[in-house]
């Protein structure tokens, strides 16, 4: 999940402007530049689909929590409707904490159907947030 795209962009700037000792040149510097380039490629993926992934994940977790709420007495997470990266991540953190709690209760109760549903959600969450390495 972390770091967020704004953090990563700040990191690119910090890495590019940080002073390095003389001995950190040559192959090491080339490797460092290559890593920054790789990060930039993946940041483009995150810029393209990161917000959509967050909105989807928050909705999916919220739906599952709502479905389980009557049986498990979980308080719903509030949604302020703010679509900034920071607000979506904050809501996501709240929802994930509730999801962890729900899953613990589901396991303790032996609720196999809901357990399978949560595991399927985990797969979908991980897939939605995937980052793809460049082909070469």
């Amino acid at each position: 999940m972390t770091p967020s795209l704004p953090d990563l962009l700040i990191g690119q700037a910090a890495a590019l402007t940080a002073s390095q000792p003389v001995e950190a040149g040559g192959d090491y510097l080339a490797g460092r530049v290559g890593m920054l380039a790789l990060l930039a490629v993946m940041m483009a993926q995150e810029a393209e689909r990161g917000l959509a992934a967050r909105v989807w994940e928050n909705g999916a977790i919220g739906d599952l929590l709502a479905k389980a709420a009557p049986a498990y007495r979980l308080a719903p997470a509030t949604d302020g409707g703010d679509l900034s990266w920071r607000a979506l991540d904050q809501r996501n953190a709240d929802l994930r904490r509730l999801l962890i709690k729900l899953h613990e209760l589901v396991e303790a109760r032996g609720d196999a159907d809901l357990d399978r549903e949560i595991l399927a959600l985990y797969r979908a969450m991980a897939h939605a947030r995937r980052l793809d390495l460049p082909a070469s």
Partner: protein, 337 residues
């Protein structure tokens, strides 16, 4: 001369009792938890190549360099391509931070574990050696090893709990955003422990593609990064080496080397151990938990360090997300099984 080269030359001159010149000092990529440098030491007209491993100001993984030093020492000359270690300074001496020095192994390169075809036409030969060396490490008798003098040995039945407690604790300490997938995996591992370890062995701790040098002609010439070495169940190393993270191309080959069945057979022959599928399944899920713990620490170290080190951003981001995918797939597969 740079300040580091000056300090290193002063240290070497003091310990050698003769003037030593440090030349061609250059930082190299050597993992995120140690600063790694190559240099030539010139003494009395003789030039030799060395590697300096120094603790960074803030270390990614809380490891003990004495353990790393003694782990490597324990395997020099044992046919597992351990480099020759020559000096350890835990108080940092002239270099301010703890460090150790090894003989440099020239003529080799470490492949990126994330490249599409890291070993090319030599994949079979490299794979044979890779799993054979790991099996030899598992087979090495503990009696008399320098490493055993300082590494605590768990009970056969307690290996899994010690490792799981440690890495779950790392996640507890360093997590910046809730991670339901790895939390579910930790609970699953606790609910269904593995069979008792068949043997207590030296566990390298980070034995994987990218952590060895090969000569480009099909030979492994140095096994690197022993900093997480400990005593435990040797299946821990095998599962880590075979984690799907190190196989970015899903072509059925482990780390771009050889097939799964072949890898297991080679390791089993070299170690003299049969592989219990239930134990292997447990350690395979654990490997992804351990990875997620390391990447969780990477993300924290990257943030705490002012977002400067790109390798920490990569491991705290790409590898963390990849391990979430691996964990989610494994959890579902275990549920079906």
């Amino acid at each position: 001369m740079t300040p580091l080269a000056d300090a290193l030359a002063a240290y070497l001159t003091r310990t050698a009792g003769a003037p030593v010149a440090v030349e061609a000092l250059a930082r190299i990529s050597g993992g995120a938890s140690r600063e790694t440098y190559r240099y030539d030491a010139v003494i009395g007209g003789r030039r030799d190549g060395y590697i300096l491993r120094r603790d960074p100001p803030g270390s990614l993984i809380d490891t003990d360099r004495r353990l790393e030093f003694l782990a490597i020492s324990s395997f020099v000359g044992k046919g597992v391509a351990a480099p020759q270690v020559v000096a350890l300074e835990e108080d940092g001496a002239e270099l301010d931070r703890p460090f150790f020095i090894m003989r440099r192994v020239d003529g080799g390169a470490a492949a990126s574990p994330f490249s599409a075809d890291p070993y090319g036409e030599h994949r079979e030969a490299i794979g044979e050696q890779f799993f054979s060396i790991l099996g030899k490490i598992a087979a090495e008798p503990l009696a008399g090893l320098p490493f055993v003098e300082v590494a605590p040995a768990p009970e056969h039945s307690a290996c899994w709990r010690r490792e799981l407690d440690y890495w779950a604790g790392v996640i507890d300490a360093d997590e910046q955003h809730p991670q339901p997938i790895v939390r579910a995996a930790i609970r699953r591992l606790r609910r269904d422990p593995p069979p008792t370890a068949a043997r207590i062995s030296v566990v390298h701790g980070d034995y994987r593609s990218g952590n060895f040098l090969h000569d480009g002609r099909g030979s492994i010439i140095a096994v690197l990064d022993w900093e997480m070495a400990h005593l435990g169940d040797p299946l821990e190393d095998l599962a880590w080496a075979m984690d799907p993270l190190w196989s970015p191309i899903p072509d059925g080959r482990v780390s771009g080397m050889i097939g799964v069945a072949e890898a297991l057979a080679i390791w089993s022959r070299a170690s003299g151990l049969a592989i219990d599928p239930k134990a292997m399944a447990w350690w395979s899920l654990f490997a992804a938990v351990k990875g997620q713990a390391i990447w969780t620490s990477s993300a924290k170290a990257w943030k705490d360090g002012g977002f400067i080190e790109p390798i920490l951003a990569f491991s705290g981001w790409y590898t963390a997300r990849r391990h979430d995918e691996i964990l989610a797939e494994r959890l579902s597969a275990l549920e079906v099984a």
